[in-house]
């Protein structure tokens, strides 16, 4: 079981994913954005950061990186793909996940540890019970997820909403709990098959209890156990 973490020019959380994986005993290596061969990797992670400076739109340039063609084919074959923050933005730009990102409501960058609620989901990357509340940092300027009403309804009906912003007790406030204004408080979604998962929060930042916490661990370890058939 080996994770490949793609390094785009301007990625800046790729080494954090690698550190977190190694802490959890997951075999991991970098994948250069210019590479077109990702054989040997069992899961691909698109890390956070500002790929290509986030110029034009977040993720808009990175989706054209040579490696992305392979990542798309890998996902089509059922390979697990995780996009964290900028990685999530790239997944929407590459149409591997539906929807798009707007600037945060309030037009300010937000770095903050927030409560998140696990939803009933087909996502292969998680197996926490519905309603579980985890606390994970968000760190973005464009995390205000948006999609048309039909898509939002479909995401909900298909169990594609994985994580929602919520209040500390797990409820969602009537006026919305998303600090960034996200539609339906959406913090993370997966594709219909459940193998491609994008989320704005940074699970890799809450893996080491010495430094922060452990709430992010399942977001990296679950897929390992699932692929191993444990």
């Amino acid at each position: 079981m080996r994770f490949g973490v793609v390094r785009f020019p301007g990625s800046n959380c790729e080494q954090d994913i690698v550190i977190a994986c190694r802490y959890l005993g997951i075999d991991v290596d970098y994948v250069w954005h210019g590479d077109t061969d990702i054989t040997g990797f069992d899961a691909i992670v698109l890390p956070g950061g500002f790929s290509y400076g986030d110029y034009i739109r977040t993720g808009a340039v990175a989706r054209f990186s040579p490696v992305m063609g392979e990542v798309v084919r890998f996902a089509e074959r059922g390979g697990p793909v995780l996009g964290v923050c900028n990685g999530f933005q790239i997944l929407t730009e590459a149409h591997m996940l539906p929807g798009a990102m707007l600037r945060n409501r309030g037009l300010k960058f937000i770095c903050e540890t927030v409560p998140l609620r696990l939803e009933r989901t087909v996502c292969q990357w998680v197996d926490l019970p519905e309603g579980t509340v985890v606390r994970i940092p968000i760190n973005h300027n464009e995390g205000n997820f948006t999609a048309d009403a039909e898509t939002l309804a479909r995401l909900d009906a298909n169990g594609q909403v994985v994580l929602s912003y919520c209040e500390p007790d797990g409820t969602r406030a009537p006026g919305g709990s998303a600090p960034n204004g996200s539609a339906n408080d959406i913090a993370g979604i997966c594709n219909e098959r459940g193998n491609v998962f994008g989320l704005m929060p940074h699970p890799e930042r809450v893996v080491d209890p010495e430094a922060s916490g452990t709430d992010g661990q399942p977001f990296l370890t679950t897929i390992v156990a699932r692929l191993a058939g444990v």
């Binding site: 020019p9 301007g10 950061g49 500002f50 400076g53 770095c111 760190n139 010495e210």
Partner: protein, 751 residues
């Protein structure tokens, strides 16, 4: 040799470029002829205050700069200290005040970019940013624009390059209204053996320009912005402000660190103030070599650029490397891999002359040393300012102070809501505080704590300066800036290792300003000596004036301390009900220059608190011994707002109250709000109280056991009885409400 200036025109251009007549004459003597346009531009920048330190050089010699851990003192792009096990930390603080006062987002962003380049030039990976900011009061739209823009610029740049912003400080005072201060500090980590110098050597080696193209942006930034006072024409200087590209910088960080790791470079320097002129001449001067640069080789951003424009452009995100011909291809391959331009623009020579050519035609030819080292050194006149006697003589006890719990409670809420005391979360929420996974303690506490990955160690960092104290007594104020930084770091469990400084003052050509500068440097030097802590890097920013009045003297300290065991780090919030509250130090009647006096009475006067450096150090040592012995549950220093604010902050942060009695015999307002130095609110488990107090007794430091943690109210017997909810409601929203224009600071003064 191009001959583009007559003996009549040259002196006129020299004056326009900010050179004094005597300085022009010196240039003529050095060259033995009339200078060319390019030469005049190059000298005017290198001999500007910003690059040459011509007014401050002598005073700065007072600083202690050596110590057993110092690997690199002042003189390079950043100072470096060893932190053990072969690891070293590079750090420096620098101002970007004038650009930010004109274009806050780009000014602050490029301030961060510049200081980050200083760090990775040394071979260190940048691991943390901090800052120190000053603005006028936020009642005016212009001040809100500067504040919001600067914060967004710092975040926009730091977040993009993936370096966490972990701490800082901000004050608002009318003294900074025409001239905000944006001081950026960066810290990097490296293996000791990777320490690199910005040096050129080896005749025949190649000069490689890496990174962005060169344009007309930032032309003359160091001389026209950084080395002159502002006037009503400041807006016209907007074209002198550079524009940052953090994406390019991120690529530069990765490429340069890879080049250094692979040992492909002879030397590496960054292009900052005065652009290519500064980095090339300093690298040549350090290496005692000459350089031959052909500007026609430099990739230009726009057409028709003149040689002098190439030489002085402050286009951002550029680095200058020296590489041997044999390793050029390997070095350029790494640049290409990271999508960066790299161009050979010249060669190292053994002539010790700095030659600039445009193709075949020489446009400048001067002794390289004379640019970097031969700037005139001045002994500016000094006069003790006339305002000091009157300001210091003010006696705060002549004011009507509240005495009842109702009046004192209302005063506490007002001080907590003051822009200088209130929560800074609105600011640091806009900064990535965690990328790289080393941030153990985030902003909001006394000091940030960053772990040294792979070791048990960590560093604790704080930036500090109370400009009001420095205005009332620059000698004591500068000492307090140091002492508070050290106290903050001690509260996090760190032992001070070294400092960087950013000395922000008005025009050194005004005797009263220069006196304050000199006193501040003397004060900071004495404090450093008393703590045996060296100054390893720093920056002087003069000409911080607008419309004729200087800012408060603001000698900011950035202090780095070391924790041998990161798991023993300490935080400020109250932890458990039943814990014992101890006040280290002793409160004196010192309301002069206090936040209470300013907020509640609208008065900025009086003598600032006294500082006994020996006592201060003994208190820090006692606290550190107690923390290392595992006897402490929380520690928080008393600064603006005195012990009342310190207790309130511990309570708010821990969502846990306390009941205490202050046993001094001062008037109630002095007891609560006096800003006496060397005081720390410490808590411990009840079972450890005896061991803790025994330790303090054995160390001979003053302390008093003042009460107990618990409940949801802060009760200070006979003085304060307020719910944490109410304290937090006062403290939390101020900045956001001021920025939105929902609140005027006037309203904060009303009871």
């Amino acid at each position: 040799m191009r001959d583009d200036l007559t003996a009549e025109l040259a002196p006129q251009l020299a004056v326009e470029l900010g050179l004094k007549p005597a300085e022009y004459d010196k240039i003529v003597v050095i060259l033995g002829r009339t200078p060319t346009v390019t030469e005049l531009y190059m000298y005017s920048l290198m001999w500007s205050e910003h690059c040459s330190y011509k007014h401050s050089k002598k005073a700065l010699r007072m600083f202690p700069t050596t110590g057993p851990y110092v690997l690199q003192g002042p003189g390079e792009n950043a100072g470096v200290i060893s932190v053990g096990d072969g690891w070293a930390v590079a750090f420096k603080m620098e101002s970007h005040n004038h650009p930010s006062a004109i274009e806050p987002y780009q000014g602050a962003a490029t301030g961060v970019g510049g200081i980050i380049r200083d760090i990775f030039t040394m071979g260190a990976r940048p691991i943390a940013n901090l800052n120190s900011l000053r603005f006028g009061t936020l009642d005016k739209a212009r001040q809100r624009y500067l504040f919001e823009g600067s914060v967004a610029g710092i975040g926009g740049y730091g977040n993009c390059i993936g370096v966490p912003t972990v701490g800082g400080e901000v004050y608002f005072d009318a003294a900074y209204e025409g001239n905000c201060l944006i001081n950026a500090m960066a810290i990097g980590l490296m293996r000791e053996e990777n320490l690199t110098s910005a040096v050129a050597s080896g005749a025949g080696n190649l000069v490689l320009l890496i990174g962005s193209t060169t344009g007309r942006d930032g032309i003359g930034g160091a001389s026209t912005l950084a080395s002159q006072e502002f006037d009503e024409k400041a807006e016209d200087k907007r074209p002198s402000v550079q524009v940052g590209d953090p994406f390019e910088e991120k690529l530069l960080i990765e490429a340069c660190l890879e080049l250094l790791e692979a040992k492909l470079l002879v030397g590496l320097g960054d292009l900052g103030a005065a652009g290519l002129t500064s980095s090339a001449s300093e690298m040549a001067s350090r290496g005692e070599v000459g350089l031959d640069i052909d500007v026609s080789m430099i990739p230009a951003r726009e057409e028709g650029m003149k040689p002098f424009e190439f030489m002085v452009s402050e286009s951002q995100e550029r680095m200058l490397a020296v590489v041997t011909p044999e390793l050029l291809a390997s070095a350029q391959a790494i640049c290409t891999k990271w999508g960066l331009r790299s161009t050979v623009i010249g060669t190292v020579t053994d002539t010790r002359r700095f030659v600039v050519r445009e193709g075949d035609e020489i446009v400048a030819d001067m002794p390289a040393d004379t640019l970097a080292s031969d700037a005139p050194v001045y002994d500016p006149a000094m006069t003790r300012p006339a305002y000091l006697d009157e300001a210091q003589a003010f006696d705060p006890s002549t004011l009507p102070h509240p005495e009842t719990p109702a009046g004192l409670g209302s005063a506490l809420l007002r001080v907590l809501a003051s822009p200088n005391v209130c929560s800074r979360a609105w600011i640091y929420r806009q900064y990535d505080q965690q990328v790289l996974l080393n941030t153990l303690e985030r902003p909001g506490g006394d000091a940030a704590v960053i772990r040294i990955a792979g070791t048990k160690r960590a560093i604790a960092v704080s930036t500090d300066c109370n400009g009001r104290y420095c205005y009332l007594d620059p000698y004591v104020g500068a000492q307090i800036a140091f002492a508070e930084a050290a106290r903050n770091v001690a509260c996090a469990g760190g032992r001070p290792a070294a400092i960087t400084d950013c000395l922000n003052f008005g025009s050194p050509e005004k005797p009263e300003v220069f006196w304050a500068f000199h006193e501040s440097v003397r004060g900071m030097s004495d404090a450093c000596r008393a703590f045996e802590v060296p100054v390893i890097s720093g920056n002087v920013s003069f000409y911080n004036e607008s419309f004729g009045s200087p800012i408060y003297p603001t000698p900011t300290v950035g202090l780095v301390g070391v924790l041998q065991d990161a798991s023993k780090r300490m935080t400020m919030h109250f932890k458990n009900a039943g814990d014992v509250v101890v006040l280290l130090g002793e409160t004196a009647d010192e309301l002069g220059g206090s936040e209470y006096l300013s907020t509640v009475h609208g008065v900025i006067a009086g003598a600032p608190p006294a500082l006994d450096l020996e006592e201060e150090r003994a208190i820090h040592e006692a606290l550190l011994a107690a923390i290392e012995a595992g006897l402490v549950r929380s520690a928080h220093d008393c600064s603006e707002g005195g012990v009342a604010v310190a207790l309130a902050e511990c309570a708010i942060a821990g969502a846990l109250g306390a009941t205490v009695a202050l046993d001094d015999d001062l008037a109630p307002a002095s007891s609560l709000f006096s800003e006496t130095q060397g005081r720390i609110v410490v808590t411990c488990a009840e079972a450890d109280a005896e061991a803790l107090t025994d330790l303090f007794v054995s160390r001979g430091v003053a302390f008093s056991v003042i009460g107990e943690v618990g409940g949801d109210r802060l009760v200070i017997e006979e003085k304060i009885d307020t719910s944490i909810e109410e304290l937090e409601a006062a403290w939390k929203p101020t900045l956001e409400r001021l920025v939105r224009g929902e609140l005027q600071s006037e309203e904060l003064h009303e009871g």
